[in-house]
Symmetry: C2
Amino acid sequence: MRELTLPDSGPKRKLLDAAELLFAEKGFEAVSVRDVTQFVKMNVSAVNYHFGSRDGMMTLVILRYANPVLEERIARLDSAERKWAGKGLPLEEIIDAFVRPLLGQARKTDLPERQFYKLIGRIFAENGDGLAPAIEAQFRATSERFMRAFGKSLPAVAPEDLVARIHFMTGGLVHLLTHQEMLSNGAAAPPDMAATLSRFIRFGAAGLREGTETEPLAKNGPQATFDF
Amino acid sequence: MRELTLPDSGPKRKLLDAAELLFAEKGFEAVSVRDVTQFVKMNVSAVNYHFGSRDGMMTLVILRYANPVLEERIARLDSAERKWAGKGLPLEEIIDAFVRPLLGQARKTDLPERQFYKLIGRIFAENGDGLAPAIEAQFRATSERFMRAFGKSLPAVAPEDLVARIHFMTGGLVHLLTHQEMLSNGAAAPPDMAATLSRFIRFGAAGLREGTETEPLAKNGPQATFDF
DNA sequence: GGCTGATTGAATCGTGCGTTTGACTTTGCC
DNA sequence: GGCAAAGTCAAACGCACGATTCAATCAGCC
């Protein structure tokens, strides 16, 4: 896993910051190298000089945060598993390990919070698809690692069920990151991300756990009416 | 709400079918009018002749399915509410009304099932954003209608909580539609959509309901350990 | 100062895009 | 047949894009 060595200042850093901001705002496809260079009043050729190509720049933008997030996820899951020593973890703790690194990374950025989450959401929406093979493998490894953890904590859930439920949950997370503004109910500002993620953890845990506890029926009638 | 009058054959229909297929496969942004016309061996200018512009063609592709799906959602919710006459519906029935129209529309298409769901997912991912104002309003109206229904069935859940949970759920649905292939665990084919949606309904209902029943704690420990 | 390597700049290349044009061909109808 | 409307076609337009060229400039160092 190659270390990212980025200077704290200089033209390369300036370009990368600008690209990151614009990619977060408009999406990776919708930003041209001219958009980026004009934003920081540099020459078009700067991108190709410093990064080789538009793709090279994009990869660096993605690596800068995807890498730390993925590694922190694994680290948190490791430490949680050590803490519970072989027993299945509470679902909330697994999801927390999956989600909390986002908060940490958000604080390390110059980027406005909202835009950082959009960027991360866009990255994770593609699940490493089409990215550099190294980072794609890391995505897959992380995903399998968490899958095993969930499976251990939910032995009663059939594998196909588990895969599907985790899929629903991660989809909800991606949507939450990329469409955070839709959470602002009416005129008010959207709730902060920490609160939202806390809601997400409870939601996801309940969904994953569905059917494994003697859950009381909805007060309005028996579920037997439905064929699912 | 203008009726869509599309001939069953003819060049217009042929173009629209091709556009639909390609949009579903590669996304709306990634398909050029040349891609579409070459696919059916017609001239480039055909698109502008028949639809006025690329945008006009896109809008028709979207209207063809978004409209029926949204209307069937409302109709199903109406009939469910009539059935339960004022009492709050079971969550499963609301989610079913939201989700089942997708299955119905899928059967009315020439499109391969998988690709139809990708198309619908892409449409609903943007939530009518940037679409024709008429369809955008319909999106919003449908969304508010379902929000009220959920609220009535979950009076104990605070509005901000409810908005967030519904947001997570719809995000999961979009992800499921657009990334269905990720559900194929290993080499096997992915489960069919009816089964997946049935899982989704149970997952979503459990997530929405979280905390409103005296849910037993996870067997491994008290939740009080976590600050969420 | 003067050399060297790292940057920047203006201009240009080739490509693919959505759209337009105007001539041509087909179709439907009297 | 004749005519108008509908449809098709090759060609071109203007534009934005990523990339490249090469001369000009800058920075650090002897």
